[in-house]
Symmetry: D2
Subunit: 136 residues, 4 copies
């Protein structure tokens, strides 16, 4: 489950796992969130491709940011469930995830995301259901 997030984090306050997993936020708006992962060499497999768990962490993070961008300050979100279909191996160590909210209600966000290599190769597609916890 993704840790709850209060608001779109600024660079200064990004959780430590962003750096540990090589992630940086490229875009965080009400329309979509884009997160880039410069995959740490430790998360490449002996055979070359990026570990699936790294891609999953990237997608989960991108969706969480997309949801937070649609919430009010103080609201939080957490992953209820995430389904990821791995389409192609990510052979190169940069993977970029784009996420958006399909529908937002008081208690849940229906979301989708995709991950691509820098050359545009589709690496994974995902559907996710995220819980929304309103402050008031």
């Amino acid at each position: 489950m993704s840790p709850p997030a209060d608001s779109p984090p600024t660079i200064a306050e990004l959780p430590e796992f962003f750096e540990y997993l090589g992630m940086s936020i490229e875009r965080a708006t009400a329309e979509e969130a884009i997160v880039r992962m410069q995959v740490p060499k430790q998360l490449l497999s002996p055979h070359g491709p990026v570990h699936g768990g790294a891609i999953s962490a990237l997608i989960d993070t991108a969706i969480g940011i997309a949801v937070v961008c649609r919430l009010e300050p103080g609201d939080r979100t957490a992953t209820h469930e995430l389904n990821i279909n791995y389409i192609s191996f990510a052979a190169k160590p940069v993977v970029i995830a784009t996420a958006r909210v399909l529908r937002l209600s008081r208690t849940v966000a229906h979301t989708e995301a995709e991950a691509r290599s820098e050359d545009g190769t589709l690496v994974a597609k995902a559907l996710g259901t995220f819980g929304v916890f309103r402050r008031a």
Copy 2:
């Protein structure tokens, strides 16, 4: 997608991401695979719980090992898709995943897994479809 694996890895040849993600194999048999994650502090969120991506990487790894334990030497597997339902926050930094193969055919493995905290709390449940690539 999980990197293909040829056979149940021995300690000496475990991919580097095992150490990077704090994972160790507790059991790897034809019946089930058990993988323990001593979550690196960098993968804890500012709020405490373990990052969902860490749990996803753990489950993906445990399933991959469970599948490999059912294959012949030289056969490989890779994640087609993985669906994870996050049941409770993992508040403590040790999470243990247990995975098993529900059905294995020539080209695909249907699998399931669960992740629990050391105190037994159910953190996540998963269903996964893994591709199988036979050498011969």
Copy 3:
């Protein structure tokens, strides 16, 4: 999405789709719901096995009942998402689904289910996230 349900239906008030899809409730308790489908011949494929959509409808229904059995009168539920893994063909026209709630919170139910043939063959396994709508 499953139609919202107010309370565990009695035979007299079962929605018409129960009969249309050959479904009957075998058990509906706080622990689990069991729904039996005598698959209408129209939902068998030319090749014999039961149409996957029939099994999906069966599982969705069983989970909905399992959730309702844990709610208060007047509360409702609806499917947020459902992931079904089809393990074996259902060659015989009776399929039985067993569903249970893994965790229930104020706004969501995490659930699982499985479907088996009468001879015990595992036909499908499922994880589902269902929304909960409290009256008060």
Copy 4:
């Protein structure tokens, strides 16, 4: 699991479940498959919306057709797994599913689909992994 299909069916040879579930094929090409469901009144819930299982059957069918349109004569496909996220209730009894293949390999098809009401309302989105069984 979807019954295996040999080739895009012609009207004359459509399985009986098409009529029973009110489905008709609007488009079946290598690019996409579109299936329309005039939901039988028996599959509407007492509250109005279409039963989730009907939508699931529709999506499973549309994806199966999309895959078959990419195969050679004599090849078959069957659902490995299907994940459906229900976005909005289908309040009107016509639902249209559009499916396409994201990637096709020798043994598996990665697919996606969406279902909409006639007015364009997004009812559901899906990701599916379908097995491919080559004749030769």
